[in-house]
């Protein structure tokens, strides 16, 4: 049984969630809470970013601690392109994806030579390089980040409208999740999961382990770049914070809370974390203590995350 097990029950649950998400903007507008549509876009974008990291960690078994570099690279690509007048989403977004993929290819090709702890540390080091490079380049905004004065344009779609933008984000996330589900059941997906379980064995069976891992790493990076491109459009700012190592940590937290290696783990984790943040901030300025304790509890008592608690995740034989 594969990691991304699908069953009729799960498909129904996914379809129902999708319907609820489709109805969300109308619901919010009828309640006169339009602000929440923009928040929902943000949550879904982080869900995409977390899902891309889940592909690398949960699926490929590569504990990358530098995923923020790809997330930020996508955001900065769109902002820099906009600065020089390129605002077409059809051009800027694929370019953001390509830049992130190239960066992931470069970082992955070097990092994947190391194992275990060293891999965690070298991905972190590369992400730090990107962070400091961007922060010290004044023409890219330095510490302040780059403002995106207007959202990307996409044919006749009006992305400036929060609801339209929300649907674009939702469609992107749904397509990516669908594609990942297909990928998980493909030959490539089976091989990469077997490599996670027993690398030596796959090597002995003659699989080009390094290339498989690299491809998985690059796909993850590229999808994070896409999430970055969407995020800069949502927030209007490509901030160095997106590249900070705490951002990589936060994405990891999301997938662990949601469920490492479960197809919806990244989505569940991102939704939970960001909504908790949104609501707890109003209760107490020290809400991060609560988050820390929650995270500790998950690590100690629910290592498969929320998905594991409900048995949606990977099956352990």
């Amino acid at each position: 049984m594969g990691l991304y097990a699908s069953s009729p029950r799960r498909r129904i649950a996914a379809a129902m969630t999708l319907v609820a998400l489709l109805a969300l903007p109308w619901l919010m507008q009828s309640l006169d809470q339009g602000f929440y549509v923009s928040l929902a876009s943000r949550v879904l974008i982080f869900a995409l970013a977390a899902t891309s990291l889940n592909l690398v960690i949960g699926f490929g078994g590569m504990i990358s601690f530098g995923h923020a570099a790809f997330f930020g690279a996508g955001a900065y690509t769109v902002a820099i392109l906009a600065e020089s007048g390129v605002v077409s989403a059809a051009l800027a977004w694929p370019l953001a994806l390509a830049v992130a993929a190239l960066l992931a290819l470069l970082i992955g090709a070097i990092s994947l030579r190391t194992r275990g702890v060293y891999f965690i540390m070298i991905t972190l080091a590369f992400a730090q390089m990107v962070f400091y490079l961007v922060v010290s380049l004044k023409s890219w905004g330095g510490d302040d980040g780059l403002l995106l004065l207007r959202r990307s344009t996409f044919g006749s779609l009006d992305l400036k409208d929060d609801t339209t933008f929300y649907f674009v984000v939702l469609a992107t996330l749904a397509l990516v999740l669908l594609a990942l589900d297909r990928l998980a059941h493909s030959r490539f997906g089976r091989v990469i999961q077997s490599i996670r379980e027993n690398e030596t064995r796959m090597e002995a069976l003659g699989y080009p382990v390094f290339s498989y891992k690299l491809v998985c790493f690059v796909i993850g990076g590229a999808l994070a770049g896409l999430a970055g491109a969407l995020l800069v459009n949502q927030s209007g700012l490509a901030s160095p914070n997106l590249l900070h190592w705490m951002q990589s940590g936060t994405l990891m937290v999301m997938i662990v809370i949601g469920g490492v290696g479960s197809v919806f783990g990244g989505v569940v984790g991102a939704v939970l974390l960001l909504l908790c943040e949104e609501f707890f901030v109003e209760i107490s300025p020290h809400w991060q203590i609560g988050l820390g304790l929650l995270l500790l509890a998950v690590v100690l008592w629910a290592p498969l995350g929320i998905a594991g608690l409900f048995g949606w995740g990977r099956s352990r034989e």
Partner: protein, 304 residues
């Protein structure tokens, strides 16, 4: 020019030695228990805050440092016994996340107790001036840091390589199961190592407090540098931590001082002034990536 370079080299040495205080504890924790402890930086922060608070209350810097080291060591031991011990057998992802959670908690607790504003920690009056040093003036306080760093490094060297306790620690780092089988209580040993590492963190935090700001988040930036150090040096090796610390301290400080003017020789001033700081700030990460590329286990691997 030579004077400037000499001064920057001393600054680099001083920064490197302070990094070593952090890296020494981190590398042993990492080496013996195969445990990634991101919360090491939080102990450094807590140490600095305790030192600042006690120094303000008592008026004595020495009392401040002493109390901070003692309390942080106790805190470290408590943390190890209550929580970290449960993580040794877990995978690295679980360790990274649990200690990431500890960072969040520690930052908020410090913010609750001492507020969000940075705290003031002044060097003792007697050391605030410069001293004359072979033709140029150098801050006395920084000289003290170099002295303390060298002293601690020397003591650690004696402890680790010339005592029975040190032998156990080295044995634990190179093969934990075998050491346990030979009758060493590695659990207890490890709690002691962890407490000692925490005390060294507090020492570094308190000593660096007057130079860098005592504020929430100070632990994270230096933690990453400490990790760079131990990965360069080889995980579990004290000697590697010392060499790595000095390399990182010198490369970082000298790079920041010399690289912009060096680039100006080859490039237009405009390009050099924007590229110089950028390159200088990533220099140590380039160094680490290069070392890992050619020596994936670091310079002095502890496991044979």
């Amino acid at each position: 020019m030579t004077q400037l370079i000499l001064e920057q080299a001393l600054n680099g040495l001083q920064f490197g030695l302070m990094l070593f205080l952090l890296a020494a504890g981190l590398t042993l924790v990492f080496g013996i228990m195969d445990m990634i402890n991101l919360a090491h930086g939080s102990l450094y922060m807590v140490g600095a805050y305790l030192a600042a608070a006690v120094t303000q209350a008592s008026g004595s810097f020495m009392v401040g440092i002493g109390t901070a080291m003692l309390v942080t060591a106790l805190l470290g031991a408590l943390l190890e016994v209550s929580l970290l011990r449960r993580l040794y057998a877990r995978d690295h992802l679980a360790q990274v996340l649990a200690t990431f959670a500890l960072i969040l908690i520690a930052n908020e607790v410090v913010r609750m107790i001492w507020g969000a504003q940075p705290m003031l920690l002044n060097a003792p009056e007697a050391l605030s001036g410069p001293v004359s040093l072979a033709g140029f003036f150098y801050p006395a306080y920084r000289l003290l840091l170099i002295g303390v760093g060298v002293l601690v490094a020397g003591l650690l060297y004696l402890l680790v390589s010339h005592t029975r306790l040190g032998m156990w620690v080295r044995a634990g780092a190179s093969n934990r199961e075998m050491t346990e089988a030979l009758g060493v209580n590695v659990r207890l040993l490890f709690t002691a190592v962890f407490a000692a590492g925490a005390a060294l963190c507090a020492l570094a935090g308190a000593m660096l407090g007057p130079l860098l700001a005592v504020q929430v988040g100070m632990g994270e930036s230096i933690l990453i540098l400490a990790f760079v150090v131990i990965v360069i040096g080889g995980i579990g090796s004290i000697r590697g931590a010392l060499v790595g610390s000095l390399m990182v301290g010198l490369v970082d400080t000298l790079g920041r001082a010399a690289l912009p003017s060096l680039l100006r020789e080859f490039l237009s001033p405009e390009v050099a002034s924007s590229l110089g700081p950028a390159l200088a700030s990533i220099l140590i990460y380039v160094l680490m990536a290069a070392i890992l590329f050619w020596r994936p286990e670091g310079l002095f691997p502890a496991r044979g």
